[in-house]
Symmetry: C2
Subunit: 268 residues, 2 copies
Protein backbone atom coordinates (compact mmCIF):
# COMPACT_ATOMS: atom_id res chain seq x y z
CA UNK A 1 0.00 0.00 0.00
CA UNK A 2 1.10 3.56 -0.72
CA UNK A 3 0.94 6.39 1.76
CA UNK A 4 -1.49 9.22 2.29
CA UNK A 5 -0.34 12.58 3.59
CA UNK A 6 -1.07 16.25 3.77
CA UNK A 7 1.10 19.11 2.55
CA UNK A 8 0.45 22.61 3.80
CA UNK A 9 3.56 24.61 2.90
CA UNK A 10 4.49 26.18 -0.45
CA UNK A 11 8.17 25.48 0.26
CA UNK A 12 7.63 21.77 0.83
CA UNK A 13 10.22 19.87 -1.26
CA UNK A 14 7.54 17.67 -2.84
CA UNK A 15 5.69 20.76 -4.04
CA UNK A 16 8.92 22.05 -5.58
CA UNK A 17 9.58 18.71 -7.24
CA UNK A 18 6.08 18.47 -8.73
CA UNK A 19 6.16 22.07 -9.87
CA UNK A 20 9.51 21.44 -11.60
CA UNK A 21 7.82 18.78 -13.78
CA UNK A 22 6.38 21.61 -15.85
CA UNK A 23 9.92 22.10 -17.12
CA UNK A 24 11.15 19.73 -19.85
CA UNK A 25 14.66 19.37 -18.41
CA UNK A 26 13.26 18.18 -15.10
CA UNK A 27 10.79 15.85 -16.78
CA UNK A 28 13.66 14.21 -18.66
CA UNK A 29 15.70 13.82 -15.50
CA UNK A 30 12.85 12.46 -13.42
CA UNK A 31 11.16 10.46 -16.19
CA UNK A 32 7.86 11.75 -14.79
CA UNK A 33 5.14 14.11 -15.99
CA UNK A 34 1.99 15.84 -14.74
CA UNK A 35 -1.61 15.39 -15.85
CA UNK A 36 -4.47 17.30 -14.27
CA UNK A 37 -8.19 16.86 -13.97
CA UNK A 38 -10.41 13.90 -13.06
CA UNK A 39 -11.37 13.33 -16.68
CA UNK A 40 -7.76 12.91 -17.79
CA UNK A 41 -6.88 10.72 -14.81
CA UNK A 42 -9.92 8.54 -15.48
CA UNK A 43 -8.92 8.19 -19.14
CA UNK A 44 -5.42 7.29 -18.01
CA UNK A 45 -6.75 4.57 -15.77
CA UNK A 46 -8.94 3.24 -18.60
CA UNK A 47 -5.77 3.17 -20.72
CA UNK A 48 -4.03 1.10 -18.05
CA UNK A 49 -1.99 3.89 -16.46
CA UNK A 50 -2.19 4.90 -12.81
CA UNK A 51 -0.39 7.92 -11.35
CA UNK A 52 2.47 7.24 -8.97
CA UNK A 53 1.38 10.28 -7.00
CA UNK A 54 -2.17 11.61 -6.82
CA UNK A 55 -2.53 15.22 -5.62
CA UNK A 56 -5.96 16.36 -4.47
CA UNK A 57 -7.20 19.77 -3.38
CA UNK A 58 -8.82 20.11 0.04
CA UNK A 59 -12.45 21.15 -0.08
CA UNK A 60 -13.03 19.44 -3.44
CA UNK A 61 -16.45 18.03 -4.20
CA UNK A 62 -16.60 14.31 -3.41
CA UNK A 63 -16.80 12.13 -6.53
CA UNK A 64 -17.13 8.33 -6.73
CA UNK A 65 -14.62 8.15 -9.63
CA UNK A 66 -12.09 10.06 -7.55
CA UNK A 67 -12.62 7.83 -4.52
CA UNK A 68 -12.11 4.77 -6.78
CA UNK A 69 -8.97 6.30 -8.26
CA UNK A 70 -7.56 7.11 -4.83
CA UNK A 71 -8.07 3.53 -3.67
CA UNK A 72 -6.49 2.16 -6.85
CA UNK A 73 -3.44 4.41 -6.49
CA UNK A 74 -2.91 3.39 -2.85
CA UNK A 75 -3.41 -0.30 -3.67
CA UNK A 76 -0.80 -0.06 -6.42
CA UNK A 77 1.72 1.39 -3.94
CA UNK A 78 1.32 5.01 -5.06
CA UNK A 79 1.11 8.08 -2.85
CA UNK A 80 -1.86 10.33 -2.25
CA UNK A 81 -1.27 13.94 -1.26
CA UNK A 82 -3.89 16.35 0.00
CA UNK A 83 -3.08 20.02 -0.24
CA UNK A 84 -4.66 23.46 -0.60
CA UNK A 85 -6.15 24.68 -3.89
CA UNK A 86 -3.48 27.43 -3.85
CA UNK A 87 -0.62 24.95 -3.71
CA UNK A 88 -2.22 22.77 -6.40
CA UNK A 89 -2.49 25.90 -8.52
CA UNK A 90 1.21 26.56 -7.97
CA UNK A 91 2.04 23.00 -9.05
CA UNK A 92 -0.04 22.99 -12.23
CA UNK A 93 0.64 26.61 -13.12
CA UNK A 94 -3.05 27.25 -13.72
CA UNK A 95 -5.08 29.98 -12.05
CA UNK A 96 -8.14 27.76 -11.86
CA UNK A 97 -6.67 24.33 -11.38
CA UNK A 98 -8.74 21.19 -11.48
CA UNK A 99 -9.28 19.60 -8.07
CA UNK A 100 -6.87 16.78 -8.82
CA UNK A 101 -3.59 16.11 -10.60
CA UNK A 102 -1.39 13.07 -11.03
CA UNK A 103 2.29 12.35 -11.52
CA UNK A 104 2.89 9.59 -14.07
CA UNK A 105 6.01 7.74 -15.11
CA UNK A 106 6.86 8.43 -18.77
CA UNK A 107 6.84 5.31 -20.88
CA UNK A 108 9.02 3.88 -23.62
CA UNK A 109 8.27 5.55 -26.97
CA UNK A 110 10.86 3.66 -28.99
CA UNK A 111 9.69 2.35 -32.36
CA UNK A 112 10.27 -1.17 -31.11
CA UNK A 113 7.18 -0.79 -28.93
CA UNK A 114 4.91 -0.28 -31.98
CA UNK A 115 3.13 -3.05 -33.91
CA UNK A 116 2.59 -1.81 -37.47
CA UNK A 117 0.02 -4.52 -38.10
CA UNK A 118 -2.20 -3.20 -35.30
CA UNK A 119 -4.08 -0.74 -37.54
CA UNK A 120 -4.48 0.22 -41.24
CA UNK A 121 -3.50 3.83 -40.60
CA UNK A 122 -0.81 5.66 -38.64
CA UNK A 123 -0.12 9.35 -38.11
CA UNK A 124 3.42 10.70 -38.39
CA UNK A 125 4.46 14.29 -37.58
CA UNK A 126 7.83 15.83 -38.32
CA UNK A 127 9.17 18.74 -36.23
CA UNK A 128 5.68 19.59 -34.96
CA UNK A 129 6.45 22.45 -32.58
CA UNK A 130 3.11 23.36 -31.08
CA UNK A 131 2.00 21.24 -28.09
CA UNK A 132 -1.62 22.10 -28.89
CA UNK A 133 -1.23 20.68 -32.39
CA UNK A 134 0.43 17.59 -30.93
CA UNK A 135 -2.48 17.03 -28.55
CA UNK A 136 -4.93 17.59 -31.40
CA UNK A 137 -3.15 14.97 -33.53
CA UNK A 138 -3.34 12.48 -30.66
CA UNK A 139 -7.11 13.06 -30.57
CA UNK A 140 -7.32 12.59 -34.35
CA UNK A 141 -5.29 9.38 -34.11
CA UNK A 142 -7.79 8.14 -31.54
CA UNK A 143 -10.75 9.16 -33.72
CA UNK A 144 -9.57 7.43 -36.90
CA UNK A 145 -8.46 4.35 -34.99
CA UNK A 146 -4.81 4.89 -35.92
CA UNK A 147 -2.17 2.50 -34.68
CA UNK A 148 -0.50 5.48 -33.09
CA UNK A 149 1.23 8.82 -33.56
CA UNK A 150 4.92 8.81 -34.45
CA UNK A 151 6.91 11.99 -33.73
CA UNK A 152 9.93 12.58 -35.96
CA UNK A 153 12.89 14.84 -35.18
CA UNK A 154 12.45 17.74 -32.74
CA UNK A 155 8.77 17.88 -31.91
CA UNK A 156 7.04 19.46 -28.92
CA UNK A 157 7.25 17.26 -25.86
CA UNK A 158 4.18 14.97 -25.76
CA UNK A 159 4.52 14.84 -21.96
CA UNK A 160 4.36 18.62 -21.51
CA UNK A 161 1.42 19.95 -19.53
CA UNK A 162 0.12 21.74 -22.65
CA UNK A 163 0.25 18.66 -24.92
CA UNK A 164 -1.27 16.41 -22.27
CA UNK A 165 -4.07 18.93 -21.74
CA UNK A 166 -4.73 19.37 -25.49
CA UNK A 167 -4.83 15.60 -25.99
CA UNK A 168 -7.92 15.45 -23.74
CA UNK A 169 -6.74 12.06 -22.52
CA UNK A 170 -5.78 10.62 -25.90
CA UNK A 171 -2.13 10.57 -24.74
CA UNK A 172 -3.15 7.61 -22.58
CA UNK A 173 -5.09 5.70 -25.24
CA UNK A 174 -2.99 6.20 -28.39
CA UNK A 175 0.38 4.50 -28.91
CA UNK A 176 3.24 6.97 -29.23
CA UNK A 177 6.57 6.67 -31.02
CA UNK A 178 9.53 9.06 -31.08
CA UNK A 179 12.50 8.78 -33.44
CA UNK A 180 14.94 10.60 -35.68
CA UNK A 181 14.09 10.49 -39.39
CA UNK A 182 16.78 7.97 -40.37
CA UNK A 183 15.77 5.65 -37.59
CA UNK A 184 12.11 5.91 -38.55
CA UNK A 185 12.82 5.22 -42.21
CA UNK A 186 14.89 2.16 -41.32
CA UNK A 187 12.09 0.82 -39.13
CA UNK A 188 9.43 1.56 -41.77
CA UNK A 189 11.32 -0.13 -44.61
CA UNK A 190 11.91 -3.26 -42.56
CA UNK A 191 8.27 -4.26 -43.16
CA UNK A 192 5.12 -3.34 -45.09
CA UNK A 193 4.04 0.28 -44.96
CA UNK A 194 3.17 3.10 -47.37
CA UNK A 195 4.52 6.54 -46.47
CA UNK A 196 2.24 9.35 -47.67
CA UNK A 197 3.17 13.02 -47.48
CA UNK A 198 0.82 15.98 -47.46
CA UNK A 199 2.73 18.04 -49.99
CA UNK A 200 2.59 20.88 -52.48
CA UNK A 201 5.28 19.47 -54.77
CA UNK A 202 4.95 16.75 -57.43
CA UNK A 203 1.74 15.56 -55.83
CA UNK A 204 -1.51 13.87 -56.87
CA UNK A 205 -4.94 14.97 -55.60
CA UNK A 206 -5.59 13.51 -52.14
CA UNK A 207 -9.07 12.31 -53.20
CA UNK A 208 -8.85 8.94 -54.90
CA UNK A 209 -5.08 8.53 -54.44
CA UNK A 210 -3.93 4.88 -54.26
CA UNK A 211 -3.63 4.48 -50.49
CA UNK A 212 -2.52 1.12 -49.08
CA UNK A 213 -2.62 -0.27 -45.56
CA UNK A 214 -0.70 0.12 -43.38
CA UNK A 215 -0.68 3.75 -44.50
CA UNK A 216 1.58 6.21 -42.67
CA UNK A 217 0.27 9.78 -43.05
CA UNK A 218 3.14 12.26 -42.68
CA UNK A 219 2.76 16.00 -41.98
CA UNK A 220 5.60 18.48 -41.58
CA UNK A 221 6.52 21.45 -39.44
CA UNK A 222 3.92 24.20 -38.94
CA UNK A 223 5.82 26.87 -40.86
CA UNK A 224 8.42 25.07 -42.98
CA UNK A 225 6.51 21.93 -43.98
CA UNK A 226 8.53 18.80 -44.77
CA UNK A 227 12.18 18.91 -45.90
CA UNK A 228 12.44 18.17 -49.62
CA UNK A 229 14.43 14.95 -49.18
CA UNK A 230 11.86 13.64 -46.68
CA UNK A 231 9.12 14.17 -49.27
CA UNK A 232 11.25 12.47 -51.90
CA UNK A 233 11.53 9.40 -49.65
CA UNK A 234 7.74 9.05 -49.48
CA UNK A 235 5.85 6.47 -51.54
CA UNK A 236 3.08 8.90 -52.38
CA UNK A 237 2.74 12.69 -52.29
CA UNK A 238 -0.78 14.07 -52.17
CA UNK A 239 -2.13 17.57 -52.17
CA UNK A 240 -5.35 19.12 -50.85
CA UNK A 241 -7.18 21.97 -52.58
CA UNK A 242 -6.05 25.33 -51.19
CA UNK A 243 -8.38 28.03 -52.44
CA UNK A 244 -6.76 30.73 -50.35
CA UNK A 245 -3.16 31.48 -49.46
CA UNK A 246 -0.52 28.75 -49.91
CA UNK A 247 -0.11 27.85 -46.25
CA UNK A 248 -3.69 28.25 -45.11
CA UNK A 249 -4.20 24.94 -43.35
CA UNK A 250 -3.03 24.27 -39.82
CA UNK A 251 -0.70 21.21 -39.83
CA UNK A 252 -2.87 19.17 -37.46
CA UNK A 253 -5.94 20.00 -39.57
CA UNK A 254 -4.22 18.93 -42.81
CA UNK A 255 -3.24 15.65 -41.14
CA UNK A 256 -6.81 15.03 -40.03
CA UNK A 257 -8.39 15.75 -43.43
CA UNK A 258 -5.89 13.40 -45.05
CA UNK A 259 -6.32 10.70 -42.39
CA UNK A 260 -10.11 10.68 -42.86
CA UNK A 261 -9.63 10.39 -46.62
CA UNK A 262 -7.30 7.41 -46.13
CA UNK A 263 -9.80 5.84 -43.74
CA UNK A 264 -12.61 6.15 -46.29
CA UNK A 265 -10.39 4.98 -49.15
CA UNK A 266 -9.35 1.85 -47.26
CA UNK A 267 -13.01 1.16 -46.53
CA UNK A 268 -12.65 0.87 -42.79
CA UNK B 1 -0.26 62.56 -43.50
CA UNK B 2 -0.04 60.87 -40.13
CA UNK B 3 2.64 61.55 -37.55
CA UNK B 4 5.81 59.79 -36.59
CA UNK B 5 7.09 59.84 -33.03
CA UNK B 6 9.18 58.07 -30.47
CA UNK B 7 8.10 56.71 -27.08
CA UNK B 8 10.69 55.92 -24.45
CA UNK B 9 8.74 55.55 -21.20
CA UNK B 10 6.79 52.55 -19.92
CA UNK B 11 4.29 54.90 -18.26
CA UNK B 12 3.49 56.78 -21.47
CA UNK B 13 -0.32 56.95 -21.83
CA UNK B 14 -0.18 55.58 -25.39
CA UNK B 15 1.69 52.51 -24.14
CA UNK B 16 -0.97 52.00 -21.49
CA UNK B 17 -3.74 52.37 -24.06
CA UNK B 18 -2.17 49.88 -26.47
CA UNK B 19 -1.45 47.43 -23.71
CA UNK B 20 -5.06 47.65 -22.56
CA UNK B 21 -6.18 46.35 -25.98
CA UNK B 22 -5.20 42.86 -24.86
CA UNK B 23 -8.24 43.06 -22.63
CA UNK B 24 -11.64 42.37 -24.22
CA UNK B 25 -13.47 45.10 -22.29
CA UNK B 26 -11.06 47.73 -23.55
CA UNK B 27 -11.20 46.41 -27.11
CA UNK B 28 -14.98 46.73 -27.05
CA UNK B 29 -14.79 50.28 -25.70
CA UNK B 30 -12.11 51.41 -28.13
CA UNK B 31 -13.29 49.36 -31.13
CA UNK B 32 -9.61 48.61 -31.77
CA UNK B 33 -7.41 45.52 -31.62
CA UNK B 34 -3.74 44.53 -31.84
CA UNK B 35 -1.98 42.40 -34.45
CA UNK B 36 1.73 41.70 -34.32
CA UNK B 37 4.38 40.64 -36.78
CA UNK B 38 5.29 41.78 -40.26
CA UNK B 39 3.69 38.72 -41.84
CA UNK B 40 0.31 39.48 -40.26
CA UNK B 41 0.49 43.17 -41.08
CA UNK B 42 1.41 42.38 -44.67
CA UNK B 43 -1.54 39.97 -44.93
CA UNK B 44 -3.76 42.68 -43.48
CA UNK B 45 -2.63 45.14 -46.10
CA UNK B 46 -3.20 42.55 -48.84
CA UNK B 47 -6.72 42.16 -47.40
CA UNK B 48 -7.25 45.91 -47.65
CA UNK B 49 -6.70 46.79 -44.00
CA UNK B 50 -4.05 49.21 -42.76
CA UNK B 51 -3.27 49.77 -39.08
CA UNK B 52 -4.25 53.13 -37.62
CA UNK B 53 -1.12 52.96 -35.50
CA UNK B 54 2.06 51.13 -36.44
CA UNK B 55 4.45 50.37 -33.55
CA UNK B 56 8.02 49.44 -34.42
CA UNK B 57 10.91 48.32 -32.22
CA UNK B 58 14.13 50.28 -32.36
CA UNK B 59 17.10 48.30 -33.61
CA UNK B 60 14.92 46.09 -35.84
CA UNK B 61 16.37 44.72 -39.05
CA UNK B 62 15.41 46.91 -42.00
CA UNK B 63 12.90 45.27 -44.34
CA UNK B 64 11.50 46.64 -47.62
CA UNK B 65 7.98 45.40 -46.78
CA UNK B 66 8.11 47.23 -43.47
CA UNK B 67 9.33 50.43 -45.11
CA UNK B 68 6.46 50.16 -47.62
CA UNK B 69 3.98 49.56 -44.83
CA UNK B 70 5.26 52.53 -42.85
CA UNK B 71 4.86 54.82 -45.85
CA UNK B 72 1.36 53.50 -46.53
CA UNK B 73 0.27 54.01 -42.92
CA UNK B 74 1.56 57.59 -42.88
CA UNK B 75 -0.01 58.35 -46.27
CA UNK B 76 -3.37 57.08 -44.98
CA UNK B 77 -3.16 59.44 -42.01
CA UNK B 78 -2.08 56.82 -39.49
CA UNK B 79 0.56 57.17 -36.80
CA UNK B 80 3.93 55.49 -36.60
CA UNK B 81 5.53 54.96 -33.20
CA UNK B 82 9.09 53.88 -32.57
CA UNK B 83 9.85 52.40 -29.20
CA UNK B 84 12.15 49.96 -27.39
CA UNK B 85 11.83 46.18 -27.73
CA UNK B 86 11.04 46.08 -24.00
CA UNK B 87 8.09 48.42 -24.33
CA UNK B 88 6.81 46.57 -27.42
CA UNK B 89 7.05 43.38 -25.38
CA UNK B 90 4.98 45.02 -22.65
CA UNK B 91 2.34 46.04 -25.20
CA UNK B 92 1.99 42.65 -26.88
CA UNK B 93 2.47 40.62 -23.71
CA UNK B 94 5.02 38.38 -25.41
CA UNK B 95 8.53 37.73 -24.12
CA UNK B 96 9.93 37.64 -27.64
CA UNK B 97 7.77 40.11 -29.48
CA UNK B 98 7.93 40.57 -33.21
CA UNK B 99 9.64 43.79 -34.26
CA UNK B 100 6.35 45.37 -35.27
CA UNK B 101 2.72 45.54 -34.20
CA UNK B 102 -0.34 47.39 -35.46
CA UNK B 103 -3.53 48.78 -34.01
CA UNK B 104 -6.53 48.17 -36.27
CA UNK B 105 -10.09 49.37 -36.11
CA UNK B 106 -12.51 46.48 -35.63
CA UNK B 107 -14.97 46.14 -38.46
CA UNK B 108 -18.66 45.44 -38.76
CA UNK B 109 -19.36 41.72 -38.36
CA UNK B 110 -23.13 41.96 -38.69
CA UNK B 111 -24.76 39.36 -40.93
CA UNK B 112 -25.88 42.15 -43.26
CA UNK B 113 -22.26 42.50 -44.39
CA UNK B 114 -22.19 38.92 -45.74
CA UNK B 115 -23.13 37.86 -49.28
CA UNK B 116 -24.32 34.25 -49.15
CA UNK B 117 -23.92 33.89 -52.90
CA UNK B 118 -20.19 34.68 -52.69
CA UNK B 119 -19.17 31.05 -52.14
CA UNK B 120 -20.62 27.51 -52.16
CA UNK B 121 -19.50 26.81 -48.61
CA UNK B 122 -19.56 28.65 -45.27
CA UNK B 123 -18.26 27.73 -41.84
CA UNK B 124 -20.39 28.34 -38.76
CA UNK B 125 -19.24 27.82 -35.16
CA UNK B 126 -21.45 27.91 -32.09
CA UNK B 127 -20.02 28.83 -28.66
CA UNK B 128 -16.47 28.09 -29.80
CA UNK B 129 -14.50 29.04 -26.69
CA UNK B 130 -10.89 28.51 -27.66
CA UNK B 131 -9.24 31.41 -29.55
CA UNK B 132 -6.77 28.94 -31.07
CA UNK B 133 -9.64 26.90 -32.52
CA UNK B 134 -11.21 30.10 -33.81
CA UNK B 135 -7.99 31.10 -35.57
CA UNK B 136 -7.66 27.58 -36.99
CA UNK B 137 -11.21 27.74 -38.38
CA UNK B 138 -10.42 31.06 -40.05
CA UNK B 139 -7.45 29.37 -41.75
CA UNK B 140 -9.65 26.45 -42.82
CA UNK B 141 -12.25 28.87 -44.19
CA UNK B 142 -9.48 30.48 -46.24
CA UNK B 143 -8.22 27.09 -47.46
CA UNK B 144 -11.60 25.77 -48.65
CA UNK B 145 -12.52 29.12 -50.20
CA UNK B 146 -15.42 29.59 -47.80
CA UNK B 147 -17.56 32.69 -47.99
CA UNK B 148 -16.65 33.33 -44.39
CA UNK B 149 -16.82 32.17 -40.79
CA UNK B 150 -19.96 32.94 -38.81
CA UNK B 151 -19.70 32.91 -35.00
CA UNK B 152 -22.89 32.07 -33.12
CA UNK B 153 -23.66 32.89 -29.47
CA UNK B 154 -20.77 33.37 -27.03
CA UNK B 155 -17.60 32.52 -28.92
CA UNK B 156 -14.03 33.53 -28.20
CA UNK B 157 -13.29 37.07 -29.39
CA UNK B 158 -11.96 36.92 -32.98
CA UNK B 159 -10.08 40.18 -32.30
CA UNK B 160 -8.19 38.80 -29.28
CA UNK B 161 -4.42 38.64 -29.61
CA UNK B 162 -4.56 34.82 -29.40
CA UNK B 163 -7.19 34.41 -32.14
CA UNK B 164 -5.49 36.92 -34.42
CA UNK B 165 -2.18 35.11 -33.93
CA UNK B 166 -3.68 31.64 -34.52
CA UNK B 167 -5.41 32.84 -37.69
CA UNK B 168 -1.98 33.48 -39.25
CA UNK B 169 -3.48 36.43 -41.09
CA UNK B 170 -6.69 34.73 -42.22
CA UNK B 171 -8.64 37.15 -39.99
CA UNK B 172 -7.87 39.77 -42.62
CA UNK B 173 -8.78 37.68 -45.68
CA UNK B 174 -11.89 35.78 -44.53
CA UNK B 175 -15.27 37.46 -44.03
CA UNK B 176 -16.51 37.27 -40.46
CA UNK B 177 -20.03 37.30 -39.05
CA UNK B 178 -21.21 37.37 -35.44
CA UNK B 179 -24.80 36.79 -34.31
CA UNK B 180 -27.08 35.16 -31.78
CA UNK B 181 -28.65 31.89 -32.93
CA UNK B 182 -32.15 33.28 -33.55
CA UNK B 183 -30.77 36.14 -35.57
CA UNK B 184 -28.61 33.78 -37.63
CA UNK B 185 -31.49 31.42 -38.31
CA UNK B 186 -33.69 34.31 -39.46
CA UNK B 187 -30.97 35.55 -41.80
CA UNK B 188 -30.30 32.04 -43.15
CA UNK B 189 -33.95 31.25 -43.85
CA UNK B 190 -34.45 34.51 -45.71
CA UNK B 191 -32.62 33.01 -48.71
CA UNK B 192 -31.11 29.80 -50.08
CA UNK B 193 -28.78 27.88 -47.76
CA UNK B 194 -28.44 24.37 -46.38
CA UNK B 195 -27.51 24.11 -42.70
CA UNK B 196 -25.44 20.99 -41.95
CA UNK B 197 -24.51 19.90 -38.43
CA UNK B 198 -21.65 17.66 -37.41
CA UNK B 199 -23.64 15.49 -35.04
CA UNK B 200 -23.82 12.19 -33.23
CA UNK B 201 -27.62 12.06 -33.15
CA UNK B 202 -30.00 10.98 -35.94
CA UNK B 203 -27.29 11.51 -38.51
CA UNK B 204 -26.27 10.12 -41.91
CA UNK B 205 -22.65 9.28 -42.80
CA UNK B 206 -20.78 12.42 -43.81
CA UNK B 207 -19.38 10.72 -46.94
CA UNK B 208 -21.86 10.93 -49.78
CA UNK B 209 -24.44 12.98 -47.87
CA UNK B 210 -26.64 15.21 -50.10
CA UNK B 211 -24.82 18.53 -49.67
CA UNK B 212 -26.16 21.59 -51.50
CA UNK B 213 -24.62 24.99 -52.15
CA UNK B 214 -24.58 27.34 -50.40
CA UNK B 215 -23.79 24.84 -47.65
CA UNK B 216 -23.36 26.14 -44.07
CA UNK B 217 -21.21 23.74 -42.03
CA UNK B 218 -22.05 24.09 -38.33
CA UNK B 219 -19.88 22.85 -35.44
CA UNK B 220 -20.66 23.23 -31.75
CA UNK B 221 -18.89 24.00 -28.51
CA UNK B 222 -15.66 22.13 -27.71
CA UNK B 223 -17.04 20.19 -24.77
CA UNK B 224 -20.83 20.33 -25.06
CA UNK B 225 -21.31 20.12 -28.83
CA UNK B 226 -24.47 21.68 -30.30
CA UNK B 227 -27.67 22.18 -28.29
CA UNK B 228 -30.28 19.61 -29.28
CA UNK B 229 -32.74 22.18 -30.66
CA UNK B 230 -30.00 23.73 -32.80
CA UNK B 231 -29.32 20.33 -34.35
CA UNK B 232 -33.03 19.81 -34.91
CA UNK B 233 -33.19 23.09 -36.85
CA UNK B 234 -30.52 21.89 -39.30
CA UNK B 235 -31.39 20.60 -42.77
CA UNK B 236 -28.93 17.75 -42.55
CA UNK B 237 -27.12 16.02 -39.69
CA UNK B 238 -24.00 14.10 -40.60
CA UNK B 239 -21.62 11.99 -38.58
CA UNK B 240 -17.97 11.10 -38.98
CA UNK B 241 -16.50 7.72 -38.01
CA UNK B 242 -15.15 7.80 -34.44
CA UNK B 243 -13.14 4.67 -33.82
CA UNK B 244 -12.00 5.80 -30.38
CA UNK B 245 -13.75 7.63 -27.58
CA UNK B 246 -16.98 9.52 -28.30
CA UNK B 247 -15.56 13.02 -28.27
CA UNK B 248 -12.17 12.35 -29.80
CA UNK B 249 -12.13 15.03 -32.49
CA UNK B 250 -11.20 18.63 -31.81
CA UNK B 251 -14.09 20.89 -32.92
CA UNK B 252 -11.99 22.84 -35.45
CA UNK B 253 -10.69 19.55 -36.89
CA UNK B 254 -14.19 18.10 -37.24
CA UNK B 255 -15.27 21.27 -39.06
CA UNK B 256 -12.32 21.02 -41.44
CA UNK B 257 -12.85 17.34 -42.29
CA UNK B 258 -16.51 18.07 -42.98
CA UNK B 259 -15.75 21.23 -44.98
CA UNK B 260 -13.34 19.34 -47.27
CA UNK B 261 -15.97 16.64 -47.81
CA UNK B 262 -18.53 19.27 -48.77
CA UNK B 263 -16.01 20.89 -51.10
CA UNK B 264 -15.35 17.57 -52.87
CA UNK B 265 -19.04 16.69 -52.98
CA UNK B 266 -19.97 19.99 -54.59
CA UNK B 267 -17.22 19.41 -57.15
CA UNK B 268 -15.42 22.69 -56.53
Amino acid sequence: MGTRRQITGFSNPTVKLLRALRDKKHRRREGRFLAEGLRLLTDARAGGRLPEVLVMAEGRDPHPLLADLEAAVLAAGGDVIETSADILSKITGKDNPQAVAGVFAEWDTGLGTLDRGAAPIWLVAQALRDPGNLGTMLRTADAVGAGGLILIDDCADPFSVEAVRASMGALFTVALGQARWDEFLGWLRAGPGQLVAASLRDAVPYRGAPYQAPCFVLVGNESRGLPEDYEAACDLRVTMPMKGRADSLNAAVAGAVLAYEVLASLGR
